[in-house]
Amino acid sequence: MKFIDEFRDRELAYGLAAAIGRAAQPQRDYHFMEFCGGHTHAIARYGVGDLLPVNVRLIHGPGCPVCVLPIGRIDMAIRLAMDEGVILCSYGDPLRVPASGGLSLLRARAALAGGGEIRMVYCAADALRLAQENGQRQVVFFAIGFETTTPPTAVVIRQARALGLRNFSVLCCHVLTPAAIASILESPEVRQWGSVRLDGFIGPAHVSTIIGSRPYEFFAAEYRKPVVIAGFEPLDVMQAILMLIAQVNSGRAVVENEFARAVTRAGNRKAQQMVAEVFELRRSFAWRGLGELPYSALRIRREFAEYDAERRFPISYQAVPDHPACECGAVLRGARRPQDCRIFGSVCTPENPVGSCMVSSEGACAAHYSFGRFADAKVAP
């Protein structure tokens, strides 16, 4: 496949692996966090870890939109379908995330008795189309994701207004990447106790196409952490690791852009304007694993209030504690590895996920379970 195979080439991978091996100084080790679930997935799926020297460690970050969604938010979506009888549509990933009362959106769908429906859509535009096709029904789009999925949500809200649709609204759960990075850098594990060592970040790919590379400059300057924005292909990740090692070795901490084929410093201005027109910052938003973070998420502006499901329907966010044995929170902060969790692979599996990190293929636990757990079992083929 053109423009894909080039970034998965074995020879180039071995060449990069050798370069990383030469660059990594044997007397020290390197701890890099890949922020995005897309990177986590690529690393696990292609076995990138196998090509790295033992003193280069990758720590999974919180950049999996499904993983950081707190239970209470899923509960709101379920309530909309069950109590309000709406057609709730959602991307595929959130459907299996465990919510309160042993439910998930999928289980709720199986149990739906009233007029409500839960449907999977591939894009925000599909949700809008559902509303057009079902004029007499209320259709709610469960909008989740980081900055990548936010502009499409802004587009459909604008379109809904232009079309004068009265039966379409959005349950907005869009969150912001820089707030999550700041929260990790401010966490006691990183700042005080030093139990999580972070020497740099592999910066988001798709998110950065929207927000640009500039928002990360603060982290490089203020926290002295190098950031290399990388594409989601395995060679991108390896190249970024090589660049991070070079920065660490020379004591630099700047933002570099490996994903220059898609990311600019300023990002996608048009998308940013559209997002700013429709959304505003929430004062605070609860993240799974990271807790309440100030100004870390978006809500729909008053001008578009009639498209805001939180205003249209009598639902509100109720905090629900995570399962006591689940370590998703610590995994999302980089403080624990999936296999360190007591219930990983025993109680908590992709078939019966306890925590959100076991749900999405981008979640650290699911990625390790599905692609990497042979390494824990010491198999020697």
Binding site: A17, R96, E351, P381
Partner: protein, 349 residues
């Protein structure tokens, strides 16, 4: 027959007509539907036609029976439809046991309001597939459910075949050292369906691979290779089928990603939707596990058959108490190829 048909009065309107509740009620309308739509197309001259069951001649060897229900949506897709799918799918389930498929039985659940013209297309397609495979449909059943209680049409087919003594292909016979062969490009059926279902207009059409495999399997048997397991990787794809075999045989497997045949348009569609072709359904492919020494001979025999032209040796079996199916990736790393959990969900970003 002729005298009965007169009793119906007007013939069925196969162009504009629709399935009605009375077509399943056991009365004259049902008899007419069976006569004019099913029996005339699928009809097979065997003793006892028109009775409650088919009576078939005695066979030599052990009987193999398999049944499979088909609920595919959409009913018509590039490369096939639910009709030929229901014939090929069950023939394959019988054939992968090393058996020669002999007969099929077909049960239809029709939804009230379903266009008879579509039903004719489906039954014609079944008849063509059955004739091409040389495996007749010898008995059947029709039920009608109320509008909204079905998806147009569901078809359950049961296949009967015969296998010679000494032919013992079974999922528990994979042994360390064995080679793993796939008969062609993977994921074509599943992606053809998905592209239709989601109305995703891919520029290059993906065509379902649905096909009866017993001819290919006969060629494999004739090669004399020491075959241990044959299975068709339908739902859950190659990954899930290999995991089933690994668990049954208590062995591990190692695949080489670079050897797994995937058509470029399938790879691209999977890439686009965030799916892994290893987990996408096939309807005309098989996996064979064969003694290492015979792998090349079997591969050559398969490649000489039209349905095995793109057969490839994709990996090998080894000892592993954990029964992991692993893969060395194109990049040179290693990963697990796990069971499919739930449906494959598209990734969102």
């Amino acid at each position: 027959m002729t005298s009965v048909r007169k009793a119906y009065g007007r013939p069925l309107d196969l162009r504009q007509g629709r399935v009605e509740m009375m077509h399943g009620s056991g009365g004259r309308a049902m008899a007419q539907l069976i006569d004019e739509l099913f029996a005339s197309r699928l009809g097979h001259p065997h003793p006892g036609q028109g009775n409650d069951a088919a009576v078939l001649p005695a066979v030599v060897g052990r009987l193999v029976v398999s049944t499979d229900s088909h609920v595919v949506s959409p009913l018509f897709f590039p490369g096939g439809d639910i009709g030929c799918l229901s014939v090929n799918g069950t023939i394959n389930d019988v054939a992968v046991m090393g058996a020669t498929p002999l007969y099929l039985a077909a049960g239809f659940i029709l939804e009230e309001g379903f266009p008879l013209a579509d039903l004719v297309r489906i039954v014609d397609s079944m008849a063509a597939a059955a004739a091409a495979a040389g495996v007749p449909v010898v008995t059947g059943d029709t039920k009608v459910v109320q509008r909204g209680r079905g998806d147009g049409v569901y078809i359950t087919t049961t296949g009967v075949g015969v296998v010679a003594d000494g032919e013992d292909w079974s999922g528990d016979r994979a042994r360390p050292g064995d080679g793993i062969i796939v008969s062609g490009g993977i994921g074509e059926h599943g992606m053809a369906i998905m592209a239709q279902r989601e109305s995703i207009g891919f520029a290059a059409e993906i065509v379902s691979d649905t096909a009866p495999l017993h001819g290919l399997i006969a060629a494999m048997r004739a090669s004399g290779a020491d075959i241990h397991v044959v299975r068709d990787p339908t739902r859950g794809g190659v990954a899930t089928t290999l995991n089933e075999i690994a668990r049954q045989s208590r062995v591990g497997m190692m695949l080489r990603e670079s050897e797994v045949p995937v058509q470029p348009q399938v790879a691209a569609a999977c890439e686009f939707l965030g799916l892994d072709p290893l987990y996408v359904a096939n309807e005309g492919r098989l996996l064979a596990i064969v003694a290492a020494a015979d792998a090349e001979r079997l591969l050559a025999a398969m490649r000489a058959h039209p349905l095995g032209r793109h057969a490839a040796l994709i990996g090998s079996v080894h000892e592993d108490a954990q029964c992991f199916v692993q893969m060395s990736t194109t990049l040179g790393g290693r990963r697990i190829v796990d069971w499919l959990s739930g449906d494959q969900l598209p990734r969102i970003c």
